[in-house]
């Protein structure tokens, strides 16, 4: 049963495996981006793919994010299934017209007559000492836009299963990878064809006293905090929505109703970000069961500083989540 074999892979290996399998399965899948071929991207996520699939399917582009995203939109409409690589999520700023005014709207504007089945793989996350223009987590912007889907995997297995679903989806999908996870996070990943539907949250840890909703990089932080909380007798449930759109509202709401307390944690800027939506959804759905307001934890409202001691202050940590949870539980 090679299909149910489970191996330990890094996050990057899981991403690469999903791509390789989909490219073998479907000759329409191709990759476009800067230094994706021989270099396998600066993050070395795609190493080996060009050797198997050649430079017509793993295509190095000029540094023209708007241009090659636009090409992917047109290619997706006309028979290919491009997977675009946007190295740092910060560079998405250059692609907003292509993704938001074009890709997201073409199916609707054409009354359903054209489709844009493409994936944008990109990165998020700070604490890499990369400073303000290489550290942003801009997924909230895309979640705001009807017509796009937004995926935020937090484990190697989720990365593989969700990326395969993204590639098979008929819509433009933005797939955010935490760049700190690529080689640091390992986990069990089923071999062979294995996909995870979009819009289904995952309970990463069960608990009864408080719900910690974490996305992407913040799932590990939430799990770490849950371990600390356990030591003081607080049982935390950790929920990972996995996709911000579609959003599994019921999973969030049901957990919060059960525990009566919730904290949402996300690495994007804290204001007008993903935490606001997640908190609002929980507040709406679990209002009468909540013991206190939903607490939001996101990146500090500052451009990410380069200096390590400053940068480390900007994102939620196990300890800061632990403290917030402790306070919320005590108050109740």
């Amino acid at each position: 049963m090679p299909d149910t074999e489970v191996r330990e892979l890094t996050f990057a290996q899981a991403v690469r495996e999903a791509l390789a399998e989909e490219m073998r399965r479907d000759s329409r899948v191709c990759i476009l981006g800067e230094d994706v071929a021989e270099a396998g991207t600066p993050f070395k996520v795609l190493s080996g793919l060009v050797e198997e699939f050649g430079t017509t399917r793993v295509v190095d582009t000029p540094i023209s994010e708007a241009g090659f995203c636009g090409v992917a939109v047109g290619a997706a409409m006309t028979g290919l299934r491009p997977v675009v690589d946007i190295m740092f999520g910060d560079f998405l700023t250059l692609t907003m017209d292509q993704l938001v005014n074009q890709a997201a709207k073409i199916h609707y504007m054409s009354g359903g007559r054209w489709k844009v089945p493409m994936v944008v793989r990109t990165t998020l996350g700070a604490t890499r000492r990369s400073a303000a223009q290489h550290s942003q987590s801009l997924h909230a912007w895309f979640s705001h836009v009807p017509g796009l889907k937004v995926i935020m995997p937090s484990t190697p297995a989720d990365a593989k299963g969700l990326l395969k679903s993204a590639i098979r989806d008929e819509n433009p999908v933005i797939f955010f990878e935490d760049k700190m996870m690529h080689h640091k996070l390992r986990g069990p990943v089923p071999a062979g064809d294995f996909s995870i539907p979009l819009g289904v949250a995952d309970v990463k840890r069960e608990g009864t006293d408080i719900t910690l909703v974490g996305t992407s990089s913040m799932v590990q932080v939430a799990l770490g905090a849950a371990t600390l909380l356990e030591q003081i007798g607080i049982s935390a449930e950790v929920i990972d929505p996995r996709t911000l759109w579609p959003l599994d509202e019921a999973a969030l709401v049901n957990s919060a109703r059960k525990t009566s307390r919730a904290i949402v944690i996300d690495e994007g800027y804290g204001r007008y970000g993903a935490t606001a939506e997640l908190a609002a959804v929980i507040s709406e759905g679990a209002f009468y069961d909540l013991d206190g307001p939903v607490i939001r934890m996101g990146a500090m409202h500052v451009p990410i500083p380069f200096s390590p001691p400053l940068e480390d202050l900007t994102v939620p940590t196990e300890n800061s989540v632990f403290e917030a949870a402790r306070k919320l539980c005590r108050r109740a």
Binding site: G74, D97, R113
Partner: protein, 334 residues
């Protein structure tokens, strides 16, 4: 187009008119008749929103489209009715779209600036200036990867020369020898500003600097446009790479139907000069007669038929039902 277009009355034309040059005359006349009805609808306050008329520029869409196959691709602009019609769109479904009706090409969801139609290779008109350059280049990328021999045409106004993405995708198309034709319609104005105030240097040089084969033609001369397009489309189809066709033209009416008082940015005299001396339909008609390819009566017949076709199409669209309320949430995701 060299393949048969989508409307029925074409088959009814007398045999003498069944000639490519005459067909181009007919297509230009149809576009103008369509646009005249659009203006009429606007004036009668029947049309929601605005529309940007193609009157005066007909030779470009027609001259280019007649060099394409039905399954070749085009992308179009806010001033896109002519491109869509020349590529084979049916006027009745276009008018329905302009009125926001369910029978429209986009179920009424797109409107004047977003006509799209897979059956004629129309990837869509676009309301973002320069917004479809990536899309057209991507369609050419697919054509090359899939080896299906198709060509993509990207129409845009000279104002779109201001959008950096054009240079990004011309570079890609040149590097990868993509079968795409960039057709720049220089009608002298970016909205209300003369293009010389917004466009430095030399337009064709901007394309050739990227290794894209570039040429400039009189956009009021359908034969010149067609001959240049034939050449460029042929090159592209043979895998010889992208081309850039600069067509010098003029829009006769306002930037959009509501742009009535234009004297602060251009003179009535200038408008009159173009209409009198460089009208693409009249010029082509005179040539057809001089060459003995058509006589006055035949040309008149074309005009009458076109007008009748457009009136019928308007009638269809006017009578067509609105989309249903529940349609508003359909087509967000495929």
């Amino acid at each position: 187009m060299t393949s048969t277009p989508g409307t029925d009355d074409k088959e009814l034309l007398p045999a003498v008119l069944d000639d490519r040059w005459v067909e181009m005359y007919r297509q230009m006349v149809r576009i103008r008749a369509f646009e005249e009805q659009v203006n009429e609808l606007y004036t009668r306050a029947v049309m929601p929103g605005l529309a940007h008329l193609y009157i005066g520029e007909e030779a470009i869409a027609v001259g280019v489209s007649e060099s394409l196959h039905q399954d070749d691709y085009i992308t179009s602009t806010h001033r896109g009715h002519g491109h869509c019609l020349a590529k084979g769109a049916a006027p009745d479904r276009m008018f329905a779209e302009l009125l926001g009706k369910a029978a429209g090409y986009c179920h009424g969801k797109g409107g004047s600036m977003h006509i799209a139609d897979p059956s004629t290779g129309n990837l869509g008109a676009n309301a973002i200036v320069g917004g479809s350059m990536g899309i057209a280049t991507g369609a050419a990328f697919s054509a090359k990867q899939l080896g299906n021999g198709r060509v993509a045409v990207c129409y845009f106004g000279e104002g779109a020369l201001g959008q950096g993405v054009l240079y990004e995708v011309m570079n890609l198309a040149s590097l990868w020898s993509l079968p795409v034709l960039y057709v720049c319609e220089n009608n002298l104005y970016n909205e209300y500003t003369h293009f010389t105030e917004t466009t430095a240097g030399d337009i064709c040089a901007r394309a050739s600097a990227f290794g894209v084969c570039a040429e400039s033609v009189d956009g009021q001369d359908v034969r010149a446009v067609h001959e240049a397009a034939l050449l460029m489309v042929g090159r592209a189809r043979r895998g010889e790479g992208p081309a850039f066709l600069l067509c010098n033209t003029y829009r006769y009416t306002g930037h959009h139907v509501g742009d009535i008082s234009r004297e602060y940015y251009r003179s009535k005299q200038e408008e009159q000069d173009w209409k009198t001396h460089r009208d693409p339909i009249r010029r082509h008609g005179e040539w057809l007669m001089a060459e003995g390819l058509a006589d006055q009566a035949a040309l008149m017949a074309v005009e009458h038929e076109a007008r009748a076709e457009m009136l019928a199409a308007v009638e269809f669209a006017t009578a067509a039902p609105w989309p249903l309320p529940e349609d508003v949430e359909r087509h967000v995701y495929a």
